[in-house]
């Protein structure tokens, strides 16, 4: 195991394509900013949450692997690690949301708050300074341990000792707990408060479950890319993809479980302040989005992922992953967008080209940075006590 697993050189090709996409997406979105400022910020929020979800999901999965040490995780450890190093970029990309805060959130508009007693009651939590302070805290909670673990992982490569290994495990447990806490409050701040009257205590868990789906839906295509090239082509085996497929299936089921639990409780309770969430999402065009979500985010991937043969076929599995990645955006859009229309008398579904261009802009930028980070380190850690087991033949 003294071989160094240098990343394949054609990552650069992907990287330059990502830069190109970033340039186009950002240019178009900038145009949109001047044409329709409100729409720009609203589209931007959903796109930013989508890419943030991938990065945070990868972070959480990396922590989970650090704790449980399955063979599945070692093969993608460095690919996950690279995603955790994109968090500073995502913090930078948070700035436009701060700028457009009052365009996005009702509670950030003083005149709206003055007219709404419920929001006034919540202003101890929903206020500009609190929002910013908390966001800073979330990023500190996520980036701090991520930075530490990335540094230690590198040190572990240099000096083979199991002290670092043990200490990384010791950091991962509290880091995972803190991640969940921060993500819960972040989900309230960034998504739930779009509709400041509505609340659901499952929301944070649902947000976290979505991250996990995002992480696997993203990392499977990356693993497919790496598995097709030297030096990892000899290391990846069908059983690794089998494991990723199983985990993806598990998280898809978890996501469905959260969604259904929330639906059953709110539908049965039938309280006016709660059930509006589902009423707006089953009217007009939104009904079709809801159905699309049920089919695309659950039924279809569920049925496909039950097949053992499909899970062991990296290419087919990657297709399912891509479908789910698209569905992740649909899910976030479904959660956020009906709230935007609220109050302006338009409940219907209004897709805008800015939804696409901000996705491409942020995505291009994020992927360019991601592939840059992926290139920086060997694809397998040099010292890892379980490495031999992980790459062993079936």
């Amino acid at each position: 195991m003294s071989q160094v697993f240098a990343p394949p050189p054609d990552i650069d090709r992907l990287r330059s394509r990502a830069w190109l996409a970033a340039a186009v997406g950002i240019a178009v979105s900038a145009g949109g900013f001047f044409l329709d400022r409100g729409q720009f910020f609203r589209s931007y929020l959903v796109s930013w949450l989508f890419w943030l979800g991938i990065a945070l999901g990868c972070y959480a999965v990396a922590l989970l692997h650090q704790l449980s040490r399955g063979a599945w995780g070692l093969m993608i450890r460095r690919a996950l690690g690279a995603a955790t190093r994109t968090l500073p970029l995502l913090l930078l990309l948070f700035v436009p949301i701060v700028v457009g805060l009052s365009e996005i959130y009702v509670w950030a508009r003083p005149e709206a708050v003055a007219a709404d007693e419920v929001i006034q009651q919540k202003s101890w939590y929903l206020n500009r300074n609190g929002f910013l302070l908390r966001a800073a805290l979330y990023f500190l909670i996520w980036m701090g341990p991520a930075w530490l673990l990335n540094r230690m992982s590198l040190r572990q490569d240099a000096a083979a000792d199991d002290r670092t290994f043990r200490r990384m495990q010791g950091i991962a447990a509290p880091a995972l707990g803190l991640y969940c806490l921060a993500a819960t409050f972040a989900s309230v701040d960034w998504l739930m408060s779009l509709n400041p009257h509505w609340y659901s205590s499952l929301w944070g868990v649902n947000f976290i479950g979505g991250h996990a789906v995002s992480a696997f839906a993203f990392i499977i295509p990356v693993a497919l890319f790496l598995a097709g090239r030297k030096p990892m082509d000899e290391q990846f085996q069908p059983r690794h993809f089998h494991d990723y497929g199983k985990l993806l299936l598990a998280f898809v089921m978890l996501w469905t479980y959260f969604q259904l639990s929330q639906l059953i409780i709110i539908w049965s309770g039938n309280l006016p302040e709660e059930v509006t969430f589902y009423l707006t999402r089953t009217e007009g065009g939104w009904l079709w989005v809801s159905i699309l979500l049920a089919v695309g985010h659950f039924a279809l991937p569920f049925v496909l992922l039950l097949s053992r043969d499909l899970k062991r076929d990296a290419r087919k599995l990657a297709w399912v992953a891509v479908v789910l990645l698209v569905m992740r955006w649909v899910d976030l859009y479904w959660q956020a967008a009906p709230a935007f229309a609220h109050g302006e008398g338009q409940h219907g579904l209004h897709l805008h080209w800015l939804d696409l261009s901000t996705m491409v802009g942020i995505g291009g930028l994020w992927l360019a940075v991601y592939f840059g980070e992926l290139k920086k380190r060997p694809l397998l850690p040099a010292f890892e006590p379980y490495l031999r087991e992980a790459v062993a033949d079936e």
Binding site: G177, C180, S201, V205, M253, Y257, I266, G269
Partner: protein
Amino acid sequence: MSDPLGKAPIVAPGHTAGSVTDKISSIVFERTPRWWWAAFGASFLLVMMLLHSLTKLLFTGVGIWGINIPVGWGFAIINLVWWIGIGHAGTLISAILLLLRQEWRTSINRFAEAMTLFAVACAGIFPLIHVGRPWLAYWLLPYPNTMELWPQFRSPLIWDVFAISTYATVSALFWYVGLIPDLATLRDRSVQRWKKMLFGAFAMGWRGSAVHWHNYEVAYLMLAALATPLVVSVHSVISFDFAVGQLPGWHATIFPPYFVAGAIFAGFAMVLTLSIPLRRLFRLEDFITLRHIQNMAKVMLATGLIVAYGYMTEIFMAFYSGNQFEEFMILNRIAGPYRLYWWALILTNVLAPQAIWLRKVRTSPALIFLVAMFVNVGMWLERYVIVVTSLSRDFLPSSWGTYSGTYWDWSLFIGTIGLFLALIFLFIRFLPMISIFEMRTILPGAKGNPE
């Protein structure tokens, strides 16, 4: 942990398929140890107490309990949820850990499954007796009747009927299927003819042929894959009993996942409570090693944190909601008439398990046992707080009331603990409490490939 990577053996070195078989089956064939009689006798006395209370209840009615208006749901539902929750760890150890290929589950799964079965049996008593006229409990089932009535499927109480009966059935199937090859082993080890006949009848002629094993393994995996979502659904349905209502403190969307986590938490605590003394008494330290105890303790800690997360979310959402009833509910829990229960709950369920972070605690079965006992109590308190504080003070102050259990409430509850223990003692006496055939598979060289 002895080695730096935490890969301590799950079976002490030196064991072979033969020695594993002999050691575990010998517990069934040996003379009954004296302590067994004492332990079984004590739990049997509690069973007698249970029967006494049940008789009194049947002749007098549920008026002997502490329930009143507004607290119409008292010990019966608290105990139901407590017992069902305890059962869940058994299914989880068997099913989820099997799917995750965690070989350490092998020494504890049989035992944990039996625990599930007995816990569900204890749980099942309460919904039956709380209906007031248990001899009419079959009215809950959908069947064609002369009154042309049908159940109302929008109610979580009918969901309970389906969920709990399915759970009991599937748990029993899982447990029995797991036992078949071991029953064949006992049949072949038995000396007396009647024992041979008895074990043989239940082994159904199992021969261990390659065809048998193949279908068996596939069926067992399928059962595991079915039991996993089932377990999640069962405790979610239990949580719906509360959550689909509109009472503050009950109507919260976080309930299903947090109830499921609480169930696993309670269940692992109970597995630890039982396995730590039993491994000593039967000298099974070779099979139930410190690694098992530690792994279970870690699962207990992790699920305990999820439960704590649930408490925190409830509190935060109550204040975030801007709903005065929600806020009052939380303040009432913390500082109202039942505050002692709430603070005891925080101590036992949230603070006590944090001791497992300490290496010193993790390496001492005695200390882990202590923590598990705290959790056993804490999970009962949790349900007490949820049921009683919410019901006793709802929207209208004029309809507020107070609640406390009577002697009959307590005797029924403690009686079911006796029933549970009595069943456990019978099980460990007459059946192999560790899966023998699965233990053989985790020995070195078992897979038939050269090591």
